[in-house]
Amino acid sequence: MRIILVGYGVVGKGVTTILAKRYTEKIASYGFSPKVVAIADVDGAVINPRGFSPEKLEKFKQKGYPISADPDFGHPSMPVLEVIESVEAEVVVEVTPVNIKNAEPALSYITKAFKTGKHVVTTNKGPLALAMPALTELAEHNNVFLRFSGTVGGGTPMLEFAKRCLAGDKILAIQGILNGTTNYILSEMGQSHISFQEALANAQKLGYAEREPSMDIDGFDTACKTVILSNWIMGKKITLKEVDITGIREVTLEMLQNAAKNRNTIKLLGTIDDNGAIVKPAEVSWTNPLCVSGVLNAVTFQTEYSADQTLIGRGAGGIETANAVLRDLLDIRHKLASKLLS
């Protein structure tokens, strides 16, 4: 399977690492031989129609930016859209940074891939949060697959669990802690009795929070994931604009302490039910399986016949997300194989 990798940040590098490693571990013997034929980033691309060797991928990583400076395979300043259009490949792996204003340039990359008949694996929440109904429709129209399991739950297969393992049952509502950063901050405040500002500073020190933390603490990241769950799992066609969002800036130590008196704590929850999609801090009982601490994520699927099911796992990190990409690639390969053989 030939792959164009778009975006060469933490996740992009993680993808090449995992592919290289799995390659040497003879994942090829399972009939899966991923070949990265191009890596495209804002400042250019490297292209090799025969696929880069694991050693070469490793060398790119060590050499660092700009990869397009490579004397043998480099195409400095070649636009990403041109790479997607002109390089022959089955799949585009899109791992560029998130933009929740207009989802660009990722949205253009994904639609270009569709139009040129390429499947897409993305870990980018922006395009999905703003245009998920449009993208799934466009993928179907062009007869290609769109996979994005890395966008929710990172390494924890939350989307697949609900879609596959709960198939046949009806999911009535979804509620979850979908953002590790805010969960870490709220856990720290409660357990170490410190203020929001202190907990945020700690999170930033440990690398859990960005220097510009708005995406996490104002609830946008959780809201994006809520949109994805809503569309993919519940079939409710919404976008980010339809989510009612409140972040955790206003959560005080005092509120946490008051909650604790009732054996509760405060968590930032994303909820989808008949009333729509909402993101806001809410009290959760200590005995609720959703009540996980630290950077953990947890999500509860309320089903019609199988009662509540909760999945707990580590949220996004570079390598976990990269692993989700591999999972999606295998899924697409599997789907393609059954399509070609039928």
Binding site: K115, L130, A131, P133, A134, L135, E137, L138
Partner: protein
């Protein structure tokens, strides 16, 4: 502020004077509503474009020149009478000239290549709306309103590549239209969008086919989540029957989507069911109004008929220019797939079946088709299916018939209704040739001799009190 789509049909933009009336309507409602305008081509232009495209295929280059000159003249005259400001006239004329030059090149291309694909036909036809929209845009500007002109493609309507009959990729369209028109509406700008034409995902021009500009209007209505879609035309709305047949025909103030769809057979003055598709899913009301009587509220089409009356029958129509085709064959009895072969033969010859009836004995099937298609239908069924020992033993036809359709949502479950209808016909001493009622029960159709048609329509209209509110 409430949002509304206003679609203006060919007659509404037929002359400069009419376009001024359009701008007056838009101006009047602009204080109350955020308006998006959808326009058809100038009356008659689309058909002329189709004609010239077919002629260009034969390679007559001179004809192209004459045609484009005339078309330019026609539109320029319209500009002069629609727009008062000389500056605006100049601006719009310049746009029109550029578009006409492009059209000339396209038609000349067709002359040279000598072929007209569905794709190029869509391209040629699209010029009708591309030429009318700038005039409407200029005239609205002339009324000191802020406005912006879009083709369907620029507005964000993306369709599949089924040229001539393209369907929108609705979710993708919603995404793009909201992004492109949404912010303008917020600022109080009035977008003027070409009806009928859109583009596929690669930006190649497509047309939406049946339903036309009305379809564009409802697509945009859904994309912009408007409160209502207004279809401005040259009639007051949908009537209980054809006023040319029955002088007491009355305007129907309210109808359900389903009833409206059943009334598509009433001809061009009603809405095509395809155009009602997008809005009926989202439950957005459609109002059919008269551009030249804007004080009338027209016909409102909603999910449920809000009508306070339990009146079962809402309307009655006569469909003329049809013929009845009877296919007989003893071998059809109990043979799975035998009807399919008959329909397949008709379908392959591009003959649309309008109505079907067959008895449980299966030895005979009657279909209603357009009268102009009759000889083709008979000939092809005979060729395909009545070989020695074939399926069909005999094909007969009657070409002096008409279909009478009785429509109403509350007809469902209304006992004795069919008996009442047929009683009316029987009392007139008229024989019914064929009957069909679908299980939706909102339409009973039957076939009589055409000469008896008007009398029956009048009688049903009167007996069911359709002339009284």
């Amino acid at each position: 502020m409430k949002k509304v789509i206003m679609k203006f049909g060919g007659t509404s933009v037929g002359t400069g004077e009419n376009i001024r009336q359009v701008a007056n309507i838009v101006t009047h409602y602009s204080k109350e509503y955020r308006i998006t305008v959808v326009v058809s081509a100038l009356a008659g232009v689309t058909n002329k474009l189709l004609e010239i495209a077919c002629q260009a295929k034969k390679g007559d280059e001179k004809l192209v020149k004459t045609f484009t000159d005339e078309l330019l003249q026609k539109h320029k005259e319209t500009v002069t009478s629609a727009i008062t400001s000389k500056v605006l006239q100049e601006k719009v004329n310049q746009i029109i000239e550029e578009i006409i030059v492009e059209l000339g090149k396209v038609l000349t291309g067709i002359c040279y290549v000598g072929e007209l694909t569905a794709k190029s036909k869509d391209y040629v036809v699209s010029f009708g709306e591309r030429l009318s929209a700038p005039i409407v845009w200029g005239t609205i500007q002339d009324h000191n309103l802020e406005t912006q002109c879009f083709t369907g493609r620029e507005a964000g309507i993306v369709t599949d590549s089924n040229f001539g009959e393209a369907d929108p990729l609705m979710n993708f369209t919603i995404h793009l239209v909201r992004e492109r028109l949404g912010p303008l509406l917020e600022k109080g700008v009035i977008p003027v969008v070409t009806g009928f034409i859109a583009a596929n995902q690669d930006g190649v021009v497509t047309t939406v086919g049946r339903g036309g500009s009305d379809y564009t209007a409802t697509i945009l209505g859904v994309a912009l989540s408007v409160n209502e879609v207004w279809i401005w035309t040259d009639v007051d709305g949908i009537l209980t029957t054809d006023p040319k047949l029955v002088s007491t025909a009355r305007l129907l103030p309210q109808l359900s989507y389903q009833e409206a769809a059943e009334m598509a057979i009433f001809g061009a003055k009603a809405m095509h069911p395809r155009a009602l598709g997008p809005v009926s899913k989202e439950n957005i009301p459609v109002r059919i109004r008269n551009t030249f009587q804007p004080e009338n509220l027209g016909t409102l089409i909603t999910k449920e008929p809000i009508s306070n009356t339990e009146q079962a029958v809402k309307a009655v129509a006569m469909i003329k220019n049809v013929a009845m085709l009877n296919v007989n064959g003893a071998t059809m009895v109990g043979a799975p797939g035998s009807y399919a072969k008959v329909f397949d033969t008709l379908g392959k010859n591009n003959i649309n079946i309008m109505m079907i009836a067959t008895a449980i004995s299966e030895a005979n099937i009657s279909v209603i088709i357009k009268r102009s298609m009759l000889s083709r239908a008979i000939s092809n069924i005979e060729i395909a299916l009545s070989e020695r020992g074939g399926l069909v033993s005999e094909v007969t036809a009657e070409d002096d018939v008409a279909v009478i359709a009785v429509v109403g949502a509350y007809m469902k479950g209304s006992l004795g209704l069919a008996s009442k209808i047929f009683d009316i016909v029987a009392k007139k001493g008229i024989n019914i040739r064929m009957i069909a009622q679908g299980s939706s029960e909102s339409n009973i159709s039957f076939v009589v001799k055409e000469k008896d048609g008007i009398e029956i329509v009048k009688a049903i209209h009167e007996e069911f009190n359709l002339d009284k509110t």
